[in-house]
Every structure is written in structure tokens, then in C-alpha cells.
Amino acid sequence: MAEQLKMTGIKKIFPGVVALDDVDFRLLPGEIHALMGENGAGKSTLIKVLTGVYDIDGGEIELAGERVRFTGPLQAQQAGISTVYQEVNLCPNLSVAENIFIGREPRKFGRIQWSETRKRAQASLARLDLDIDVTAQLDSYSLAIQQMVAIARATDVGTTKVLILDEPTSSLDASEVEQLFTIMRRLKADGVAILFVSHFLDQVYEIADRMTVLRNGRLIGEYRTDELPQMQLVSKMIGKELEALEQIEEHAKDTTAVERGTPIVEARELGRDGAIAPFSLTIHAGEVVGLAGLLGSGRTELARLLFGADRPDRGELLIDGKPHTVKAPRDAMAEGIAFSSENRRTEGIIGELTVRENMILAMQAARGWTRPIPRRKQDELVEQYIKALQIRPADPERLVRDLSGGNQQKVLLARWLITEPRLLIIDEPTRGIDVGAKAEIQRLVAQLADGGMAVLFVSAELEEVLRLSHKIEVLRDRRLVEELENGADVDADRIMQTIASGATT
């Protein structure tokens, strides 16, 4: 069958980084094709090249047999390539109907026909089994609905030849995912070539016909889904470094090692409306407490309450057994609590400051602006942590935004370790970083706990939580549903059960 889309020898260079190096990629009409790879493999870049956001530095793109080169998203769209991005890329201030049709509203004599627009929007959403008020402003709906609206927009174009779905399922629940798959199958039957990106392997195996694997900006291969077992796929995605992860597998989850005296932090029916239902939780010195749950289950919200990043509405927080009001991060910091956010780029590092400045920031903030840390002390601390965490490049005066994700994460960790916290809360520290750095960070967490620090470890990856935690708190639908002592009888299936079914007793 002739390719709907054929990309050959694609090259994309950013200053200092070769994002795509001689990558071939093809899409057949009427297939669902998964683009696989770890973060940093070049998936986003490839998609942006395909949608005309980036221009290529080498290679060719053929669409339906014709050579094309896009100068912007508009050209790509007009050529029949529609995209739904991971974050909802719509205009929150416009109505649902407008968001579906803006740029191609039905018009008569140049005048937009609003009633027709509304009618068509309704129809287009009805195909997704969605019945909502299309005149309402988009941001009055939940993220999942907004995602569906984005898909409605992308698929409504009759001329769609290629549909790109870039992690569309990350904010959808299971039934919504099923709905999306139904739509995808329908479009596939219509002959649309669908490029699908998802981090959920089960979803990929359920829906994709073929897959292309990228790693470090290079093409690893193109495979039929039914001919590539999951384990092989994983090893292709992450390369031979698989063993690096397994090394710490053996780290003892020795619950007896933790002295359970007065907990450093104890939450009693602590909660915040709309964020997390009241929960109770204790964290002791030397203990790693894992938070498990799906995206949006309340993991981050719980962590933020303990740090004072958000204010609780109810319940109380005891630190060293004494009730405490934590109104702001500063208050928590004063009690030796540190929090490294999951949004590294927006809530963590400050890109235009140097590695050194980023590292000493929390300590400096605690001291106040009138008491600067002497430069010699800064240099000592920074050097020490660059070495300990193996941050590369080992240049304290480099701007943090020029570092890779993994090294940025380490800088962020160093920022908090410098404050010598008693409780370290880390939210998704291993997301979007390469495997090597991931293993290093996991090892570090284990070491810190051995040294007596309490760690609250939040991660989307159950394996990681299982591997590191003494105690696992399972969350579901913004509620803490179960606490599990980690032991031989606890495995991913056990946690999955809880997540899937809610409270077990």
C-alpha cells in the first residue's frame, strides 16, 4: 500500500543538541501507528516537524506521494495534518463551539453563521458521545472534556489525512479512553492515518497496528505491534541500560530498620476542598513513604499540603508531635521539610540563573536577603553536591536551562539537600529524565533514608515506588484509600487492585 506520509532522513538540530538524526518514518492510510520512545527520544520534535512548528534541517517529507515542506501549523493543517496535543491547546476564553470551528467557521458573505456553527459543533461532539452546552466558555469544563473538544476539532476536518494524537489519554479516565479508541477506530476505517503517542503501554498494545521506536533522536526500528512483545519493546526504548535499574532492585525494603518513635510529621484528617479529602498519615525519620496512584489521584495535592504550598481547610498537622500551622512553604522549611515539585521547569528550577544560584536558593531564602551566604561557602556547597550527585557539566556557573532534564532534577535535589531537611518530599523526580539519571536518583533516595532522612516519594511508576518505599500510601480519586506496609506480599498487582477498586480492608 502506498504511504500516506513518508519522512526520510529527517534531521533537526538545536544549538548544542541534535534532536533528530536521520530519522525515517512512514504512516499508511487506515492504520494506527504508535510512536514510542523515552522522554528526550525525539518524539515531540518529530511531531513538531510534521505539524510545521519546526522547519527541518535535512531530509524530505512526502504527503500522499507529494513532496511537502510546511512553514507553519496552518499549512500543515491545510495539507490535511491535524493534531491534538498533550496539553489542551485551545482558547479557554472562547466557547466550545468556537474552539471546534475557529478558523473554518461556516460563513455567508464573510459573516460567521453562529447558529450553524453551534449546530455543527453539537453534531461533531455527538459523534464522541458528548452532549454539552457548546455555547459555554471552554474553561468552564473539566480537562477531560476540553481534551474531547480538542479531538472533535481535529477530526471534524473532512479532509484529515493524518491525525496526530500526542498523549491524548493522559488526562482521560478509562471509559473516556475507550470512547477515544472507538473514535480512532472509526477514523481508521475511514482511511485516516493516525499517529498515536502514549506512555500507557497497554493502550498502545490495544489500539496500535504498528509502532516506530526512537531513542536519543535516532530511529531504532519499525515493528508490527503483534510481533513485538512488551519486554522487547521496553528494552528497545531504553536500550541496554536496563540493568542499571535492576541494581537497586535488591535494596532492602526492610521495614524493621525504621525506628517508629515520634513521627516527624503526622497529618490528622488534613484536607483541602477540591484537592484532597481529609487524610491521616505519619512519616518517621529514616522512612521512605511512597505515594502511589494515577495522575490526578491527589498525590501531588497531598504532598503540597504537607509543604504548605497549598493551605489545608481542615484537620491538623503535627510536627514532632506538636500541632503546627503551615501557612506557606517557608513555615514548612523552618521545620526542616523540603519539597521538590513535579513541574521541574515551571515550579522548580529558574532557568536563567546559574547552577550555583539555583542550588543555594532555598538556603538563601531561609536565611533572608539580609544575610547572604558567603561566596566561599556557596562554592564549597555547590562543588560538594555537583560531585555527590554527578551533575554534568560540572560547571557551577552554567545556566541551568542549558542542562539536560536529569541534571536539572539533580540541581533541584541539591537545592533541597543543601538545606539539610529532615523530611524530603519529592514529586516525580524521575519523570522525563534518562534512565541512568533515574537510577542515580533512586539510589540517592535510598541512601538518604539510610542516613536517617524521611522521604515522601511520589511517583507515577509503581515499580519505582515499590522498590524504594517502606510504606506505600495508595490514592484514588483524591482520597487516600489504603496504607500498605511494603513487604513480600505487596506487589504492583496488589496496588493496582486498590487503585482499581478503591478501599480494601
Partner: protein, 339 residues
């Protein structure tokens, strides 16, 4: 790091040199400095003296812009400060006594601090966009200044007051000394303490700063108070220099000139990294422009044209996109790593 800083200040410095050199073409004794009656005289001294108000305002503006804000109200604050000072001096029984004049100066600056608090409150506590928040005082402030002076130009005759803007100390203009002291104070405050780092951090990412435990609200309020205080002093210098309070003329367009000075100096309007030296340089460039116009013999108003051209050239020179389009694709482009 230092080479980058040098690079950043290279263009503004080059502009200043060209400006000064072009003056030489039109007046041979441009660089001559003479001592008359124990006062230094000369075009260069004149530039230093006349830059003082703009340098002061630009200093405050630099700090505000570093936090990602902007302060449009500085001109109005200048007008109010001058108006209040002149009104109070007019009421003094003996306007030539130093003590009462100092009190008046103190009162004027105190009032400006209140205005700074107000701006800071709107921005940091109510969370209003800085450009909008300070627009309020920019509009209302001149009205308040006119209210103080009752719409008149208030003339004052007070020897001590006149020293601020037109006096000399050890042959050096007092206004220049005040500005220099303010620069010294700002540098010490931002680079000797951790304030500079915290400011850049707040400007770089407010959310990340809060989570790092920085009291960004307090810092934000502080910079607006600074900006207002410096503007107040600038207002005093201006009104002292002309021995009157003119609510319309005082600080007219100075907010724009100050922002221009900051941008010329290489501080980005989006906040973060700032350069005090750059802003001072920018302020001197703008003043030199005005003086150059006079010495070249064109109407003073046409400096606006100069400014427009300079802004356009410098903005384009600083615009990464422009450099990329003109000077090739990768040479000067900022690192842009895919998400």
C-alpha cells in the same frame, strides 16, 4: 560570565561613545572641563548633572523590571514629591533654614514611600498586572500633584532646597552626588546582600521562587517602594533645579525614558537578570542625546526622533529573532531546546 556581561553592555557603551564623539565634531571644547568659582563646568559635567533624575528613576525601574514588573507611575510620583516639597517650603516661616527644609524633604519622600506601598500592594497582594496597577497612579497622580499645587506653578525661594538640584559640593554637582550615592546604595543592596539573587529569582519564575521559600510578596512590595522613593528624590532634584513645582512638566515621559534606559542597558522587560550598570549607562545615553541635540543645533524636540531610532536599532539588535534573521541561523540564537 564576565565576557557575556561585557558583551551585553558593549552596544550601549558604543552608542554613548559615538554620541559623545559626534558632539566633538560640533563643539571643539565639548570635553573641556573648567573650574569656575569652585564649581566644575563643562558639557560632560552638565551631562552628569542633568542625568541625575533619570538615573534615579531608572535605578528603581531596573529593580521593578527585574521582578518582571513595570512602574508607570514614577513620573507622577516625581510631580507629587516636588509639589508637596514646594508647598510645604512655601509655608515655612524661614525657607532658608536647613532643618525645616530637611524635614520637608523627609515628608515628601515619606509620602512617596506610601505611594510605593500602594503600588506594591496592588501588584503583590491583589495580584494585578504591574502595568495596569501602576497605570492607576500614573493617571491619578498628576491630578493629585495639581491638587497640591492648586493647578499653579509654585515658585519657591529657599537656598537649602536649591542645593539639592543646583548646588555644588567640593566643586561637584550635588545632584550627581545624590545619584551616585543612589547607585552605590542599589549596588550594595542588591549585590552585597542576597537581594539581587532573590529579585532575579522572583522575576525568573515567581512560582518556583515561592516554592523555594522566598517571600516574593515582600520583595515585590519592596522594589515598588524603592522605585517610588527614588522617583521622589528625582522629583525633588528636578523641582529644586528649577526652584518651582510644575505638576505637568515634572517627570513628564520619564517613565518611558526610564524604561528605555533599562532596556538599553540590557535588562529584559520579562524580568530576571538585571544590570544596574547597564541602566545607568542607558540613562546617561538618553540625557546625552538631549544635550547633543542642543549642541548640534537641532530643536530639542527632535531628540524624540533620535530616541525612536535608537530604540528601534537597540531593540532589533537585542531581538534574538532579528539577529538570527540577519546574521545567520545559529551564531547568536539563544539555545532553544525542544520541550
Amino acid at each position: 560570565m564576565t565576557s557575556m556581561l561585557r558583551h551585553r553592555l558593549f552596544w550601549p557603551a558604543a552608542v554613548l561613545v559615538v554620541l559623545l564623539a559626534s558632539n566633538l565634531v560640533f563643539s571643539n571644547n565639548f570635553f573641556t572641563i573648567t573650574l569656575q568659582d569652585g564649581h566644575l563646568y563643562g558639557s560632560l559635567i552638565d551631562i552628569l548633572r542633568r542625568s541625575a533624575p533619570l538615573v534615579l528613576v531608572a535605578l528603581g525601574m531596573t529593580l521593578v523590571i527585574a521582578t518582571g514588573g513595570i512602574d508607570l507611575s514614577v513620573g507622577s510620583v516625581m510631580a507629587i514629591s516636588g509639589a508637596l516639597a514646594c508647598l510645604l517650603i512655601g509655608d515655612l516661616s524661614n525657607p532658608d533654614a536647613v532643618g525645616p527644609v530637611l524635614l520637608v524633604v523627609g515628608a515628601a519622600i515619606a509620602l512617596c514611600l506610601v505611594f510605593g506601598l500602594w503600588n506594591g500592594f496592588l501588584v503583590a497582594v491583589l495580584g494585578i498586572q504591574p502595568i495596569i496597577a501602576t497605570l492607576i497612579l500614573m493617571v491619578a497622580g498628576r491630578g493629585v500633584a495639581q491638587l497640591i499645587t492648586d493647578g499653579q506653578i509654585l515658585n519657591v525661594h529657599s537656598a537649602p532646597y536649591r542645593v539639592i538640584g543646583a548646588g555644588y559640593f567640593l566643586a561637584v554637582p550635588v545632584s550627581f552626588l545624590i545619584a551616585a550615592a543612589a547607585v552605590g546604595l542599589t549596588v550594595a543592596l542588591t549585590r552585597r546582600t542576597a537581594l539581587g539573587l532573590l529579585l532575579e529569582s522572583v522575576g525568573g519564575s515567581p512560582t518556583a521562587s515561592r516554592l523555594a521559600g522566598i517571600r516574593s510578596r515582600r520583595i515585590t512590595i519592596m522594589v515598588y517602594v524603592f522605585a517610588a522613593a527614588f522617583a521622589g528624590v528625582a522629583g525633588l532634584i528636578y523641582s529644586s533645579d528649577v526652584s518651582s513645582a510644575d505638576s505637568n512638566a515634572a517627570g513628564n515621559l520619564i517613565e518611558l525614558n526610564a524604561i528605555l534606559a533599562v532596556v538599553l542597558g540590557g535588562t529584559a522587560l520579562t524580568g530576571g537578570r538585571f544590570s544596574i550598570a547597564g541602566s545607568v549607562l542607558g540613562a546617561v545615553i538618553i540625557t546625552t542625546l538631549d544635550i547633543t541635540a542642543v549642541s548640534v543645533g537641532v530643536p530639542v524636540e527632535t531628540t524624540l526622533l533620535f530616541k525612536a531610532v535608537v530604540v528601534i536599532i537597540l531593540c532589533l539588535a537585542q531581538s534574538a529573532t532579528f539577529r538570527a534573521k540577519v546574521f545567520g541561523r545559529f551564531g547568536t540564537k539563544r539555545a532553544e531546546v525542544p520541550a
